[in-house]
Symmetry: C2
């Protein structure tokens, strides 16, 4: 029989800078001891070890072995210096714990587009006033600043640029300086107290479009956003053609790298020009993109991704400096590039998983980033599965006879009823072509009416007469198996817009590829359609597609339109989260290891699965 | 009475990669346990904790708290990863210890000019052969390399350039690669096994002359050496005039920085052109220089050093990359800039202390780097004192009426006997002027003969007649108080070389400044002349001066010529030691804190001391 009597031993310790002595029962965590005595050691996660806010400097005792939480939330320098998370270790007898003061507390804020977010950026500013220099204290400027910093932030090395900044301040150093910490280094030193001004930029590097947002790291607000066509577009529309260029030689890698960096430079300059933020006040840049885009951003040749066994050079997150990438912000600014899952499931998908909270949502969820390369993530309970499906450019309107990008003049919506066709054109302009969403709509409508058979065949005018004589007149023969007139101008018959049988085939290939990926993942996870609770559509095109149309053409399993959610630029949101919140960034770093990547080309009955996925569902 | 019976507890552990289980008495160090069982854990210092060679990765037990030796010899990453020095910790029950294999053992080698040196460079090369990539193992190249590295070198991050190198290797990665580690980062990845080729360069950045040596880090040999005039010379001859330029504005700092970097670039290219070493095979550069030169090398404005209270921006060692400094070697190559003691006792003096083993020599020693700025270090037992004395350019032959640098045509030696004057001229050329050593000799000889009074006054021809009528004829009047003809050409009387009374005064000021520094340090340390065992003269000029002459003019206390030792470019030697030997580098880092810096301008009776030091000793 176990005794229920416990002997409580009391341990004594001291907290600085309060110089407060406390006594507590043995085994009490440092955090609990502090909070029980009104010592303001900050915490956000309430002692779970995940927020990293409650760090204390342990002195006058053996520093406890760092555990996994310490290692994740504290830098190597901090660990070596004796910093530990107060929530993870019990109080030691006679120990002295120093907790940071003057460091911005973590707050939960409402950020544009992201909803509530925990604001704990990697970037920190600390104002220090060093002991003044005299003939009897000729201690170097940096040493005097370091003496002050040690108590609040541990032992952090300055970059060369930060030392150069410091020297430029001259004797005004004695009046106080603000040190800027990012990426475990002091990246800048500024005159006076500038702790209220702190900025960063979050980027989503798409194969087609690059988007950058200038964020206020003090408030969490978006200050400016700009986007531009990726200057790499002249080298081809998709990652495969870009890689075929890089295989010509390393100077071609350089050209593609310079192209995307030039796009980013334009976006940075655009954002700065519209605000009062100076280039040297941008201390960190976060980037998400597919694996090929991230390689090229970093000047790393991605060629090896294009041929079997499709191996990337790196999937880990990469840190660099803005100077190394030639970007026009503070040269020492930390550049953080998101980790990738695999060659064809990149940092943009990690960012998507982060911003849609995949792995922690309720139920079974499929998330699809619909684009030239379709990436699919399946959440089954807490398990994540991912694959990539090469959809081709049909969803972008390319390789469609009269296709175009979703720009002014593109048919973006198609409604067919009772012999007539209604179209919506972007900017209400004279129709010039059809974009991806218009293509999906057109095919979905013609399937519903029955003018397209589930096999994908466009009926002839003759066959169609019985179904709808008015519409049948719009079916005209062509060399590919017929075409359907979506729009005709009586004055200028050469400006008619046709949906060709060949275009339907292209859409079948594109949607078949993605649907095949969805099916393979569901089989892999042992899920049937009725087990699915939710489908998330992301990406520029995915967010714009009509849920009914997506189901009608069989792009996604029929979970009913209400269970389909468009989330917009989920990758871009994830990039912002990584910039604003170290908690989010740590989750992004952890995510790839939690994902079971399924290589479609290694699936045994892939051809068969693909053939099935290409067919259209029977209309109801 | 204490019992002499001890109960020995046995602990069990395992060593990898041998997979050898061992049992030893509790308390046995990991190193002793390994060596007692023929497990080849390397050590150089035989377990004193100073060499860092015996590192092991601790697994399957609590990793012991790192002690001061661990912290000094292991990187923060290694500590966090669980590496510890085997000689510093006892074996734990059930622990698994992995020791590095394939890492070059530390050897003691004979290196050109440095004598015996412990060869343990910061740069290391490790050859790894990763598991091959297949469709069923699409692990990223970097991750597969990291898996192999972890066992031998711990967890080390690659630079962006190293990742770019890796990507360029393509599928040949599977055939094995050599990773290059420097400055706690992987700075390059090379195809195949290149562990036998490893290079670095050691520089001494003088105000006047820059010297660089290309060193083989595998053998410790010097491969090439080159030197050049510091391109900053157009901005003035000494650090004070250089700083007066930097005070014009930051673009002037940039100009001076570019000037010295351009000199270094020329030296690098010169060394590489004369050898088969490629630029990308130079993995580390070490630099020593005075505090102003080091600031300017790094692009850090040194202006603040020039005015009271004479504070430098940084005295700590600085690490950067060759790319940041725009130097034409591997862009990620580690740049290590030596620590300084104070504003006027720089990294070159730290290097001098290192290469002359100051602080560990026998007896009481004065070391002087004679130059425009004279730096003086006094060793009293194990204590070190240092100061700086602004000597002015007389020793360089500048501000002497017919002075010149020690180049072709300079009178470098002067012997006076029985009415005649013998001179040695560099290159046996027609004499064009007098350089520093010639000036010291001339004054020393005339003092000995009695033509110069101990006060420094040159006798008139009339006064000199009684001493040596032949020499008296060489004394001619001039507006400064007379001149002595060192050389005359009967054909071209305008080419005569005179020693003017004014030149004697300049030499008095220069030597008085240095001697005053020596005297102040000796008083500070409580030493008399008879307590001194040795005087070390270093620097281009200091090494060339005649010991007898140095005593005769009173530049140094009269310890007898045999106790004066010229050590040549001691700073350059120290720079090489820091490149070849981490042990030396660690000592260089520790040295500044051991030096008691004495600021001459803060000495109370400085004027009086200086006046005394200016006088010449009475000739014996």
């Amino acid at each position: 029989m176990e005794s229920s009597i416990t002997t409580s031993i009391t341990v004594h310790s001291k907290f600085l800078p309060e110089d407060c002595k406390i006594a507590c029962p043995e085994g009490t965590t440092i955090l609990d001891a502090a909070q029980g005595n009104d010592i303001p050691v900050e915490t956000v996660c309430s002692g779970k070890g995940t927020c990293g806010t409650c760090r204390v400097l342990v002195r006058n005792t053996q520093v406890p072995i760092p555990n996994a939480h310490d290692r994740r939330r504290l830098s190597d320098q901090q660990l070596a210096h004796g910093w530990r998370l107060a929530c993870q270790h019990p109080v030691s007898e006679d120990a002295i714990y120093t907790h940071p003061v003057g460091v911005r507390p973590i707050r939960v804020v409402e950020s544009s587009g992201l909803g509530k977010i925990r604001l704990d950026p990697e970037v920190q500013k600390i104002y220090v006033k060093p002991a003044p220099a005299t003939l009897h204290n000729q201690t170097a400027d940096w040493s005097r600043i370091q003496d002050e910093l040690a108590a609040v932030a541990g032992d952090i090395d300055p970059t060369l640029e930060a030392l150069q900044n410091l020297a430029e301040l001259g004797e005004s150093v004695d009046d106080g300086v603000t040190v800027v910490i990012a990426g475990n280094q002091i990246v800048s030193v500024e005159a006076g107290n500038t702790t209220e001004r702190m900025f960063g930029m979050a980027f989503d590097i798409g194969t087609t479009t690059v988007v950058g947002a200038l964020m206020d790291l003090v408030t969490g607000d978006e200050i400016a956003v700009a986007s531009g066509l990726n200057d790499q577009h002249v080298y081809g529309g998709d990652v495969i053609s870009r890689m075929s260029v890089t295989m010509r030689g390393s100077e071609w890698v350089d050209r593609l790298t310079e192209a995307v960096r030039s796009t980013i430079t334009t976006i940075i300059n655009d954002c700065l020009a519209r605000t009062s933020v100076a280039a040297h006040e941008v201390y960190e840049l976060t980037f998400v993109g597919n694996t090929v885009m991230e390689h090229l951003l970093l000047g790393i040749d991605p060629s090896r991704i294009s041929y079997s066994p499709f191996v990337p050079t790196i999937v880990d997150p990469v840190s660099a400096t803005a100077g190394e990438l030639g970007l026009p912000v503070l040269s020492s600014a930390n550049v953080w590039v998101a980790p990738n899952v695999a060659s064809y499931v990149g940092g943009d998908i990690v960012a998507l998983m982060l911003s849609t909270n995949l792995g922690r949502r309720d139920g079974n969820v499929v998330a699809i980033d619909v684009g030239t390369n379709g990436e699919i993530v399946l959440q089954k309970g807490k398990n994540l599965f991912a694959t990539a499906a090469p959809a081709g450019p049909a969803f972008e309107g390319a390789e469609i006879t009269q296709g175009m990008r979703a720009a002014s003049g593109a048919i973006e919506r198609v409604h067919v009823s009772n012999g007539s066709v209604d179209i919506d054109v972007i900017d209400n302009a004279e129709p010039l072509g059809i974009c991806g969403s218009g293509l999906v709509d057109a095919v979905a409508e013609l399937l519903r009416i029955g003018l397209i058979a589930p096999s994908g065949r466009l009926l002839t005018a003759d066959e169609a007469k019985d179904i709808d004589p008015g519409l049948a007149e719009r079916i005209v023969p062509d060399e590919t198996g017929g075409a359907f007139i979506l729009h005709e101008s009586k004055d200028q018959p050469e400006q008619a817009i046709h949906l060709h049988a060949q275009d339907i085939r292209q859409l079948q290939l594109a949607k078949g590829s993605i649907r095949c990926g969805v099916n393979v993942l569901m089989q892999h996870a042992g899920l049937n359609v009725e087990d699915l609770d939710e489908i998330i559509l992301a990406g520029a095109f995915g967010s714009y597609i009509d849920p009914g149309g997506a189901i009608a053409i069989g792009l996604v399993p029929d979970v009913g339109p209400d269970a389909i959610k468009a989330v917009g630029n989920a990758a871009g949101h994830g990039s912002r989260m990584c910039l604003l919140s170290l908690t989010s960034r740590v989750r992004a770093i952890d995510l790839p290891a939690q994902v079971d990547y399924v290589e479609l080309s290694a699936v045994e009955d892939f051809q068969e699965e693909f053939a099935i996925a290409m067919g259209f569902p029977n209309p109801i």
